[in-house]
Symmetry: C2
Subunit: 239 residues, 2 copies
């Protein structure tokens, strides 16, 4: 893939990159795309020099030892602050994701004064990309836009789905029976997140590989939305 | 793999099952093994008929609409209760994992009166298995014992590592530079959890496939421990 700029047609770039490597995209493949190139194509990049921090941003910046302009951008992307301590700012984004820094990232952005925000509507971005791949390559695929999020209780980040099209993100085994014919209890597997994590194993953040193709996996086609992966506030025990 | 019973040598069963399928285990493969067969081989199965619930277990059972004997076993496996609401009991296990029901599972246990507990020391179980595979197949692999855990904020469970040997569970990119030569900020990827999630895509809980082999992934060999994946209490914002 080339380095992505605002207004780029990443569907076209992706299909061409696959062809240039003498490969092809097949029906039923899952295409996992790093959030960063989707955001860049959407122009979701902010020059921090142009940002004027609010009083709140300045206060938070002081206690978190972050750049006030960076904090200001994080706050603009946030619906709620969930926790703050030390350098950690965990928020609920406008999309409903609970993550650090509202997903605002300063690395790989081109230079140190730029911040990349999450896509405006990652599901819609996934829909657009799926449609474009169908137009250009004639195949029906599942698309996952992914980002690396930290977790409660566990060290390290993992790749998760932040936008989806063409697949059902959760496999619901409730009501199924196990090997012994007993009903399975609570068993809903977040397959979209597992697919995103699997993809990260070959994407590797600092290598600049923004797309992975997963082939040979059984999944349920469907329109699907990342909203199905977000636990409703009223059922959430950890905010 | 055959159905696993107490005292079974799952290393031997695994190596034989691979041979029976005319395949082989290779150096540098990652072997992901479902917790349930490790627990069964360790005899970590409790007949709930033999359990006498404490007063606390009875009280919790009432508000959570769970079987008091099941709750009693959960409490015995727990170091701390982190949250309780409705049917949800989120605890810290004796190993330090934060998960629902202390990982105590009533499905696939043979019949409805049995509960399967997490292995006593999953890292040690991984070490044992790795050693056995080296003895029987002459290869050096990474071993991950996995279980499906729920997450804060997101619906659905994903497979994570609960025991490790032969690999470093976290890749630390801090200090690395991105495509533009900027230093990456916080970037530690929990590769062991991503590998466990990738494996789940072919293990599929109700299919009774308890082992997956991952081949062709670059990872850092090392003694590694699942403790590296557990965030220390004092750094954790969500308990």
């Amino acid at each position: 893939m080339p380095l992505v700029k605002s207004q780029d047609d990443i569907g076209e770039q992706l299909v061409r990159a696959v062809r240039d490597q003498s490969m092809q995209i097949l029906d039923h493949d899952i295409i996992v795309v790093a959030q960063k190139i989707v955001s860049k194509a959407e122009g979701r990049v902010v020059d921090l020099q142009t940002v004027t921090p609010s009083t709140l941003a300045n206060t938070i910046a002081e206690s978190s030892e972050k750049d006030p302009k960076h904090v200001e951008v994080i706050l603009r992307e946030s619906a709620n602050i969930i926790r703050m301590r030390g350098a950690h700012i965990i928020v609920e984004t406008r999309h409903g994701f609970v993550c650090a820094n509202a997903g605002v990232d300063r690395s790989n952005a081109g230079n140190g004064d730029l911040a990349v925000l999450l896509p405006i509507d990652p599901d819609r971005a996934a829909q657009k990309l799926r449609k474009r791949i169908r137009e250009l390559a004639g195949v029906d695929v599942g698309v996952i836009i992914s980002d690396t999020f930290g977790r409660a209780w566990r060290n390290g980040q993992v790749n998760v789905a932040i936008g989806i099209d063409g697949l059902t993100p959760i496999i619901d085994y409730r009501g199924s029976r196990d090997l012994f014919g007993n009903q399975l209890k609570v068993t809903q597997i977040a397959i979209a997140d597992e697919l995103a994590s699997a993809a990260e194993l070959v994407m590797r953040k600092s290598d600049g590989v923004p797309v992975a193709i997963i082939r040979g996996i059984a999944y349920a086609k469907g329109s699907g939305s990342v909203q199905q992966l977000i636990r409703p506030k009223e059922e959430d025990l950890f905010r």
